[in-house]
């Protein structure tokens, strides 16, 4: 059989990245070569993988068997439209992030840098393999490669105990999820004993076992994606990792979980049941609201972004739930709409969250501070970083005409088309779900105003910020790439939807019909709804220009500079502005049932007063703390068996021997 060209290329790029990973090990003493040679080459690989993804969307898919792996279990690889789409997402985001990383890691010491480059490229290769794997064995190996390499990336600064702790938590939850996936594949093979995806597609599962497989997949992939209540690792691990790594983990790695969920539900399983969708929708909405509420009360800028990732995963999952509901109900066109919306949102999130994370990376690099309470006024010192981050912030807040708005618009459209579902209770659920999505989107704007306003606007809250410097050129180029993607994905939605058509055709054999042309986005029909972001942008620009010129021409452009006016107070300083806690205070007050707030109030006579308000996640306290306590208690009980006397250990051995002799013959 002639091997398909795009897939060969993809495999070639994986090998190329593995080679680069190996090469960085040899450069332990030549750090500058890692940043000036290995990483740019890695970035080219990312660009190539995006091109392969495009080819996978357009050309017929192919598969081949690699002669590696265990004797009877070779690796099967396959490239189809679904993996092609996620390859585009991966390559596009990873290219910008890696270009950025070239500048970001320049000042790092050579030894750790070489290790970082090793794990970085292994991480990229692992993610690509996850997307290409066509049997459970290859999938799990790639999944573990991805999890382990990202663990080592998270613990890059392993000398800090908090980071080690965060890494351990991540590793733990990743593996609990992986075990669940392993069980899921066990169910999916349906007694064939063959673990290739081809067999799984043909396996006839009863609804009960299909449901078991779906629940296991939802749990396993949900743990990776940060679905509430398995989200606890995310706000710990993302801030701990270096910023480009956070960008990749949040922007791309979380999406591999969405990929897996889509693959299992719509490709490998041959039945879809409506209540799965209801469950996923409910969990998604919970995740979205929970994530955004906690994002609003964070004071650490990377932690804030991590919580915002949880929110976005929730929105994607809500879209997934709707897709399952509609598909199971036989409403193919609606399912195509929501699936397009969820894929679109996944793509958007890769770019804007990547952009925001690398933006915080530049701030961190130049000020050394992650806590928003010690930042401020950076738009004047770091204009490039600030303005490019503003694009990302507006996009994630769902502002037209940027990309975040389009996917939310598509999702909201789906809610409006729903009357007449088979189950009556669903007709009640849908309006409530629409309200929840709308509220999450509005709160996201709150979060982004807080993030951008506190970090980049206002007066510098600390002395050292006056010496902050802007990002260098590689960083700027990386951010420009990501920001340009946010703008273009927002301006040309009709083209993006056309490009997504093969994916929906593959999974649910239906595509979203665009009733408009390339300019107008009109899902279903132009009478129902349409949106033309390019026209929108041009009109805004035209009005801006006309207003500006008219004001200048008819009146004047005179400006006088003065001190800010503050209602007659004689003295002002930066401490009079809202701190991050202060800005989140209303949300904390409105939603205080969800969180446990720890406050530290200053003494009124304190010369340097310090206020701290920490909002803790109640799920951690209610769900995980008991498990952790139980584990500690059990190990303490086990510790009783060990008192260091040799006689007792001999007794144990003897008892074990007797036990084995009795029960096994």
């Amino acid at each position: 059989m002639p091997e398909p060209i795009p897939l060969q290329w993809a495999w070639g790029i994986v090998l190329y990245w593995l080679l680069l990973a190996g090469a960085s090990l040899l450069l332990q003493r030549r750090g500058h070569l890692v940043t000036s040679l290995v990483m740019p080459l890695g970035a080219l690989g990312a660009l190539a993988i995006a091109a392969v993804g495009v080819a996978g969307l357009v050309l017929p898919g192919g598969h081949f068997v690699l002669p590696i792996g265990l004797p009877d279990l070779p690796f099967h690889l396959r490239l189809d439209a679904l993996s092609g789409f996620f390859l585009v997402l991966l390559g596009g985001a990873a290219f910008g992030v890696t270009v950025y990383a070239v500048g970001y890691f320049r000042t790092m010491a050579a030894g750790p840098l070489a290790l970082l480059s090793l794990w970085y490229h292994l991480f990229l290769a692992g993610m690509v393999l996850v997307l290409l794997a066509d049997d459970a064995y290859a999938f799990m190996v790639a999944w573990e490669l991805m999890a382990l390499s990202s663990y080592f990336l998270v613990t890059t600064d392993h000398k800090i105990s908090d980071i080690r702790r965060a890494g351990f938590l991540y590793l733990l939850i990743a593996h609990v999820g992986a075990v669940s996936l392993l069980l899921c594949f066990g169910v999916l093979q349906g007694g064939h004993g063959a673990y290739t995806f081809d067999y799984m597609r043909s396996a006839e599962l009863t609804p009960f076992w299909a449901s078991v497989a779906f629940l296991l997949a939802l749990f396993g992939f949900g743990a990776k994606a940060g679905l509430v209540p398995m989200h606890v690792w995310l706000p710990e691990a993302h801030p701990a990792a270096p910023s480009p790594v956070s960008a990749l983990m949040s922007g791309v790695m979380l999406k591999t979980a969405i990929y897996g969920l889509l693959r299992v539900t719509f490709d490998l399983l041959n039945v879809q049941i409506a209540w799965w969708g209801t469950l996923a929708l409910a969990l998604g909405l919970l995740t979205a609201l929970y994530g955004v509420i906690f994002a609003a009360v964070q004071s650490d800028m990377k932690r804030l972004l991590a919580w915002s990732s949880i929110e976005n995963i929730g929105i994607i999952l809500a879209g997934f739930g709707l897709t399952v509901i509609f598909f199971a109900d036989g409403k193919g066109a609606l399912a195509a709409l929501t699936m397009t919306a969820l894929l679109y949102h996944a793509l958007n999130h890769a770019f804007f969250k990547g952009l925001l994370f690398v933006g915080t990376g530049s701030v961190l690099h130049s000020t050394g501070v992650r806590h928003m309470g010690a930042l401020g006024g950076l738009i004047r010192r770091m204009p490039w970083t600030a303005w490019l981050t503003l694009v990302g912030a507006l996009a994630i807040a769902g502002m037209p005409p940027l990309n975040g708005f389009v996917s939310e618009w598509l999702l909201l459209q789906a809610f409006l088309l729903t009357p007449g579902l088979a189950h009556n209770y669903l007709n009640m659920v849908i309006p409530v779900a629409a309200a929840a999505i709308a509220m999450a989107a509005a709160l996201a704007a709150y979060v982004m105003v807080k993030f951008f306003g506190v970090v980049f606007l206002g007066q510098p809250r600390a002395e050292n910020l006056k010496h902050a410097h802007d990002a260098g050129w590689p960083e700027r180029l990386g951010m420009l790439w990501l920001a340009a993607a946010c703008v273009l994905l927002g301006l040309f939605p009709a083209m993006v939807i056309d490009a997504l058509a093969p994916v929906t055709r593959l999974l649910i054999s239906q595509t979203l019909v665009n009733d408009g042309n390339w300019l107008f986005l009109a899902p279903v029909s132009a009478e129902r709804a349409s949106y033309a972001p390019l026209v929108f942008l041009l009109v805004v620009l035209a009005v801006l220009l006309v207003t500006f010129l008219a004001v200048r021409r008819v009146y004047h452009g005179r400006i006088r500079r003065a001190d800010p006016w503050d209602c007659g107070y004689a003295e002002q300083d930066a401490r009079m502005q809202d701190s991050a806690e202060g800005f989140g205070q209303p949300i904390r007050q409105v939603f205080d049932v969800f969180m446990r707030v720890e406050r530290e109030m200053p003494d009124p006579f304190d010369r340097k007063p310090h206020y701290r308000g920490d909002s803790r996640d109640k799920i951690w306290l209610l769900l995980y703390q008991p498990i952790a306590d139980l584990a500690t208690w059990l190990s303490a009980q086990a510790g009783r068996l060990q008192h260091g006397r040799i006689q007792w250990y001999l007794v144990y051995s003897f008892a074990t021997l007797i036990f084995l002799l009795v029960f096994t013959r």
Binding site: G377, L394, A397, M399, P400, L412, Q413, L416, P419, I430, P431, V432, A434, A435, A438, M439, A441, A442, L443, A445, Y446, V449, K450, G453, V454, L457, G458, A522, A526, E527, R528, A529, S530, Y531, A532, V535, F536, V539, V543, L544, T547, F548, V554, H556, R558, R560, R561, A562, P564, W565, D566, C567, Q572, M576, Q577, D578, F583, Q585, P586, V590
Partner: protein, 314 residues
């Protein structure tokens, strides 16, 4: 097509030019109701003109964002005025943005205003921005739900189609629209910084929201913001009319109905402005943390409206 574009430009310009007049009318009515001698109805124009003539005073630390924001806010409101049908329906620009995009436009203007308020770094600016975002996180979804109720009835999120369905199809009473109308009124008071959520005439630091955000603005920037505020009130009034009292708006291409449409619009605006002034006079401003409850009620009412539609009208 040419007539369409001409009408589009005409209607948008009309909205932009008439907006301060509506503001003046509301102020006049309020003064009458409160037993004060009223300023002339053209007072907002005079204020705007005066502000344009002055030199802009800008804080030393102001970033370009601060100077850019007023233009952006004004452009957003002008755009919104271009989408909402006031006298004619089905304009060439309306397919570019539907009601969800309209909510997005309002959100965009609000985000820019809040960011500009935080730019100088005074305590009042951030205070105003924080309060504004608090108000909006409930008001925005409530507004969206109101639109959704209307969209579910007319099977479209396009404003022209909604107006067409509600105004020119056979007359049906929709219970869901009653919920939506109440919610819409509550949201509009919040979004336009009116009593009982905010007070447009106050500069008392403990209570102000919108005014706190624009304290640092002066001259042409302030003029643009004031104009945009007037325009926003106009657009919200036009939206209320289009959703709940759409009778009289001319159909597409029906030029003969235009004079009547203008008269109908003026009549409705006069009545609506007087109503707003009356409601503002008889109610008192709420404490800030009552506002989330007020808007939460609006949000729930709007969701109830949608549920009512699913229960009674499908």
């Amino acid at each position: 097509m040419t007539t369409g574009i001409l009408l589009q430009v005409l209607q948008t310009l009309l909205a932009i030019l008439l907006a301060p007049l509506l503001m003046g009318w509301v102020n006049q009515c309020r003064a009458w109701l409160q037993g004060r001698s009223a300023p002339p109805i053209t007072q907002p124009y005079r204020v705007i003109r005066k502000l344009f003539h002055k030199d802009a005073v800008i804080a030393h630390d102001a970033s370009p964002l601060f100077r850019f924001a007023p233009y952006m806010i004004f452009a957003c409101m002008a755009l919104a005025a271009g989408i909402v049908p006031t006298i004619v329906n089905d304009l060439p620009f309306s397919p570019a943005a539907d009601v969800i995009a309209l909510v997005g436009i309002f959100a965009l203007a609000r985000v820019f205003l809040a960011l500009a308020a935080m730019d100088i770094g005074t305590s009042f600016g951030t205070l105003g921005a924080r309060r504004e975002m608090l108000i909006s996180f409930l008001a925005e979804p409530a507004l969206l739900m109101v639109f959704f109720t209307a969209s579910l009835i007319s099977q479209s999120t396009e404003l022209p189609v909604i107006v067409e369905t509600l105004a020119h199809k056979q007359f049906v009473i929709y219970p869901s629209l009653a919920f939506a109308a109440v919610a819409f009124w509550m949201v509009s008071t919040a979004e336009n910084a009116r009593i009982p959520v905010d007070n447009p005439t106050t500069h008392l630091e403990l209570t102000m929201i919108h005014e706190a955000m624009i304290l640092e603005y002066s001259a042409r920037h302030l003029a643009l913001i004031e104009w945009a505020v007037a325009l926003k009130l106009f657009v919200y009034s036009a939206l209320g009319i289009a959703l709940f009292l759409p009778w009289g708006i001319a159909q597409a291409g029906d030029l003969a109905a235009l004079p009547l449409a203008v008269l109908a619009l003026l009549g409705k605006l006069l009545a609506g402005g007087a109503g707003l002034a009356f409601l503002e006079t008889i109610s008192a401003k709420m404490r800030l943390f009552r506002a989330p409850e007020f808007l939460g009620t609006a949000f729930l009412l709007a969701v109830l409206g949608m549920l009512t539609h699913f229960i009674l009208e499908v």
